[in-house]
């Protein structure tokens, strides 16, 4: 599903390059549950952003489901990630001004899904995550765990093939964190490919494969 070859990304500071990613080679099959581990600043988030096509490396090739991502135009690229990738953030990044329902609905708006269909999809999702009763609340009225549930529901609404989660449990207590991980496991069983960045060994253990990063490189 994903092939990264010789991916490097750097910033130039005082004439010398500081690498954010250095010669990353990685292959991920559909249906895998990958955990990326490593200390802060090792490049986990940058790698996720590159995979999520939010960021571009300075060097290297990226093949996503048979397409050379960096050879595509901006528009085509955003069309791919719109329909295939869902994002989950450590800080949830819900839109404060929108209700739970509206937050979950937002990605569908950008994919021109019809209103009746949107209604059905959001209702399914609310049901699935057991948050029907909270659909009219605003993010500030929810606990952290509940907010992250909404964040995941939002990531899943457009039925992506791949979920990218950057420290999804970083702001949660351990019980809430466990619930989220269980949820990821369940989603993975249903066939969704998941890549998560995490600090926690325990969380990494939910995955089928763990990649360790240090100083912008993948440790083999």
């Amino acid at each position: 599903m994903i092939q990264l070859q010789h991916i490097s990304k750097w910033v130039t500071q005082g004439g010398s390059r500081i690498f954010l990613l250095k010669d990353i080679n990685l292959e991920i099959q559909e249906g895998q549950f990958i955990s990326i581990m490593g200390p802060s600043g090792s490049g986990k988030s940058t790698l996720l952003n590159v995979i999520g096509m939010l960021d571009q490396p300075d060097e290297g090739d990226y093949n996503f489901m048979g397409q050379e991502v960096f050879k595509l135009k901006e528009k085509q690229r955003s069309a791919i990630y719109k329909s295939h990738i869902g994002f989950v953030f450590q800080a949830y990044h819900l839109i404060d001004e929108l209700t739970v329902y509206e937050n979950i609905e937002t990605p569908l708006l950008y994919q021109d899904v019809k209103q009746s269909e949107r209604k059905a999809l959001v209702a399914d999702m609310l049901d699935k995550f057991n948050i029907v009763g909270k659909k009219d609340l605003f993010p500030s009225q929810l606990s952290g765990g509940q907010q992250q549930l909404v964040g995941i529901a939002r990531a899943l609404i457009a039925s992506p093939k791949l979920i990218l989660a950057d420290e999804p449990t970083g702001n949660l207590n351990s019980k809430q964190g466990e619930e989220i991980m269980e949820l990821f496991k369940q989603l993975n069983d249903e066939g969704v490919t998941i890549i998560q960045a995490t600090h926690s060994e325990k969380n990494a253990a939910y995955g089928s494969r763990t990649i360790h990063m240090l100083d912008a490189r993948i440790e083999l």
Binding site: S40, S45, N49, G52, L54, D55, S78, Y81, K82, F87, F89, Q90, A91, H93, L94, I95, D96, E97, T106, P107, Y110, Q111, R154, A158
Partner: protein
């Protein structure tokens, strides 16, 4: 503040300590205020620019309104002085005029012995020649205004400074009193002027008997040269003065009254009504004529009555000016309130910290107010500079020729007051909001714009701004369209390339007209020449009662145009029936216009031909032609019924139709011809189209005023909008990032930003449209001929507002939309 107030009850040492302490606090506030300004340069610039423009507009408009309100206020008898005016009631309308019949003066004095009356008779367009030792004329002037026939009693009512002599100087005929300015114009030095000789209209010798100090510019009595009243009695035939003729009034002849302190205006009016009944009844049964009093304080503001000044300003115009000033400053204050509350979130930490450190709410309130004050102060200084730079141009939007000065006590007080009110109005709400923050919430950064509230307030204020700017935009469009309509209107005659010369129609001039015309026609470029009393469209209105087809007098008057047989060709008037009259020395044939035809209930133009018509009590004449209607006045008024008649005695004007090539050459040839025929007469010309343009001076000024202030309003609201959007862009950085990650395109993001403002514009349009319609429809009622106020105007206005808003919002929105979401969502 409390500290300072309580000082009185304390001992001196403690008091000085507190004052010292207060001073340190103030210094601290100022420092913070100043640094805050520097830190938020963009917002500060927007606030200061907007407020400076607002305050400058207010100052300038205040100067104008104050000037217009000051007319003749320096007259010591201001409160008891009245203008005796006339109301003429016809079956179908009521006419008003300042004119009074000549014999009324003596009759009034007999009837109302306790009231002082005086007559002032203006001499528009008189020629004054300075006589030299050999009896010839050195210098010739045509005085368009400033010359009057005046009684010595005038100075019992009105007060002026005499540099030399006294009112007694006007007792004898052939005497004249000059103001300093006029004396200097004629003789170089006013001190040499007394006992020098002038020649008026080439036949009235005048001896200068006294000198007056110059009158101020803000007067409707622009005295320049005052010829004794005895002179007009002596030369009555030439100056249309007849002390027994009750039937004629001219607005050049006006009467003023000084009521005794014990008499009210109502009592004066009652006595005038009695006077009118006694003197006018039975003289003309077609109208009911009465005289009444117009207080001097209304003279400058009432358009119904002619004054001797160069313009009358309606109070509604002054109200419009004041409102515009108010609007502009409100808009600037709104910008301030909006930006300050929007910024409040960012300042919550500072406020929280100050509260934790022991600042009271009152102190914080004063701090924020102080910052507002500082901004207003800077804006005020800038405003004075702007106002000073703009002052010389103000005469283009109002009829003030005098140079106004910004620096006088009244304006200073007004400026300070404006500053104080603006500070209070703009600063109050932000101060209350900021000082009300709960310290813990503020420190925890838990204060969001939603919690600060004021989002709906901010929307309301933005709507207010849009309403104001849209009303002004509609006003501008309507005023510009109407003025375009006026300038391009078909007047029914050809106004292009017609040169008008004013002449004093005395017999020696008229005798030479035939030869003069022949000579002019030989000049290359001259197409036609007509002698007449009045051009087709003019402010003059010479009217008379008349009878048609040997019936009784018709119940309405007819306007008279005296002209020769070449009038029709020179001005390109079209006939719908009959022909021009033939050249004749006496009045035999008459031409009428379409309006008169309709008023006489004649079906076909041909029906009027060969019928007889009679003016006043004169013999019957034959109608030989009917001309297609042309605009007899400005487009403000309906077309009058008109008679065109020959009478060479009244031909004070020469109209010369010239071909438009070699204009300058043709003009100088005409001048040479004039000087060779009439060496003792001053040469003065104007083009017909320029004269017509002058009809609409005030409307043109208003239209310009709208243009300027609509532009300012749009500018200020755009400034505010830009500030708000920049702020929104900062606030929404995260949201934009999330949306982009969720798949929003750049277009989606730009739409997100413009949507809200577009909705606000639409809401304000709903409020602005009826307001603007009401306002401009009222203004259009001033014109008999006007544009239709259709939906198009409003459509253009809203399109303009939306476009400007989009352009303003667009830059920031696009910048926000293309930003990389990875940056805005980074958590570590």
């Amino acid at each position: 503040m409390r500290n300072i107030i309580s000082v009185r009850t304390m001992s001196d040492g403690r008091a000085s300590q507190i004052i010292h302490h207060t001073f340190i606090m103030l210094k601290n506030y100022f420092k913070i205020a100043f640094r805050n300004l520097l830190k938020h340069k963009g917002y500060a610039a927007i606030n200061i620019t907007g407020l400076a423009i607002g305050i400058a507009s207010c100052l300038l408009l205040f100067l104008v309104v104050r000037y217009e309100m000051s007319y003749d206020k320096t007259q010591p008898n201001y409160k008891n002085l009245y203008h005796v005016v006339t109301q003429n009631k016809y079956a179908d309308r009521t006419n008003y005029t300042s004119g009074i019949p000549n014999p009324a003066l003596e009759a009034l004095r007999l009837q109302m012995p306790n009231t002082k009356f005086t007559a002032l008779n203006s001499l528009y367009g008189a020629q004054v020649s300075v006589v030299n030792n050999s009896g010839g004329a050195d210098k010739k002037f045509i005085e368009d205004s400033g010359m009057f026939f005046c009684e010595p009693t005038f100075f019992e009512l009105f007060s002026y400074t005499w540099l030399n002599g006294s009112p007694a100087a006007l007792k004898e005929p052939n005497t004249v009193v000059l103001t300093k300015k006029y004396a200097e114009k004629y003789f170089g030095n006013w001190k040499d002027a007394v006992n020098k000789m002038l020649l008026m209209d080439n036949f009235v010798p005048l001896k200068v008997t006294a000198i007056l100090d110059d009158v101020p510019a803000n007067t409707d009595f622009p005295l320049g040269a005052l010829v004794s009243y005895e002179t007009v009695k002596k030369y009555g035939d030439h100056y249309n003065f007849n002390a027994t003729e009750w039937g004629t009034t001219s607005s050049n002849y006006q009467i003023f009254a000084l009521l005794p302190a014990s008499m009210t205006q109502a009592e004066g009016d009652r006595q005038l009504l009695e006077f009118s009944k006694k003197n006018y009844t039975g003289r003309n049964d077609k109208s009911e004529k009465i005289n009444f009093l117009q207080p001097l304080k209304d003279v400058h503001f009432d358009k119904r009555f002619e004054t001797f000044g160069d313009h009358v300003t309606e109070r509604s115009t002054l109200l419009t000016l004041s409102l515009i000033g108010l609007f502009i400053i409100i808009m600037a204050c709104i910008n301030f309130i909006n930006l300050s509350t929007a910024q409040a979130v960012g300042r919550s930490k500072e406020i929280g910290m100050r509260k934790v450190l022991g600042s009271s709410r009152k102190q914080l309130f004063l701090q924020v107010m102080g910052e507002t004050g500082l901004i207003v102060l800077i804006a005020g200084i800038l405003a004075i500079i702007i106002a000073m730079l703009c002052l010389p141009y103000i005469k283009h939007i109002v009829s003030i020729q005098e140079n106004l000065s910004l620096f006088n006590a009244q304006t200073l007080v007004f400026g300070l007051l404006t500053g104080a009110v603006v500070t209070l109005f703009a600063g109050l709400y932000p101060s209350l909001i900021l000082s009300g923050f709960k310290p813990i919430m503020a420190l925890k950064n838990r204060i969001t714009s939603a919690k600060v509230g004021g989002i709906s307030l901010r929307r309301g204020l933005v709507v207010t701004q849009f309403v104001i700017s849209q009303v002004l935009i509609v006003g501008t469009i309507v005023a510009v369209m109407q003025m375009n309509f006026v300038h391009n209107a078909d007047l029914g005659f050809n106004k292009e390339a017609v040169l008008l010369m004013s002449t004093n129609a005395d017999s020696s001039v008229i005798q030479q007209y035939g030869a003069f015309r022949e000579k002019l026609l030989q000049t290359p470029g001259v197409v036609n020449v007509s002698f007449n009393a009045d051009e087709p469209s003019s402010d003059n209105n010479w009217s008379s009662n008349f009878a048609f087809d040997h019936k009784d007098d018709e119940p309405y008057p007819v306007s008279l145009k005296f002209a020769d047989e070449n009038y029709f060709k020179t001005f390109g008037l079209e006939f719908i029936a009959g022909r021009p009259f033939e050249k004749s020395d006496s009045v035999r044939e008459i031409v009428i216009n379409e309006t008169l035809l309709k008023k006489l209930n004649l079906k076909k133009p041909e029906d009027a031909l060969s019928k007889d018509i009679r003016i006043g009590g004169a013999p019957w004449k034959k109608i030989v032609g009917v001309v297609k209607d042309f605009k007899t006045n400005s487009l403000r008024d309906a077309i009058n019924p008109i008679l065109i008649i020959q009478n060479s005695n009244f031909y004070g004007k020469t109209a010369i139709k010239i071909s438009s090539s070699n204009l300058a050459q043709t003009q100088s040839a005409i001048e040479n011809t004039w000087n060779s025929f009439y060496p003792s007469y001053a040469y003065k010309t104007a083009f017909m189209d320029t004269k017509i343009n002058d009809f609409y001076k005030q409307e043109n000024q208003l239209s310009l005023l709208y243009k300027i202030f609509a532009a300012l309003a749009v500018f200020i609201s755009s400034l505010g909008l830009f500030g708000l959007v920049s702020f929104m862009a900062v606030q929404k950085t995260k949201e934009v990032g999330i949306r982009k990650v969720l798949g929003a395109s750049e277009r989606n993001i730009v739409y997100l930003f413009s949507k809200e403002f577009t909705v606000l514009i639409l809401i304000s349009f709903v409020i602005a449209a009826p307001l603007a319609w009401y306002m401009m429809n009222g203004w259009l009622q001033n014109f008999q001929y006007r544009i239709q106020l259709g939906a198009g105007v409003f459509l253009i206005a809203i399109l303009i507002s939306i476009m400007i808003a989009w352009i303003t919002v667009g830059y920031k929105a696009i910048k926000a939309a293309v930003a990389n979401p990875v940056k805005s969502l980074r958590t570590e």
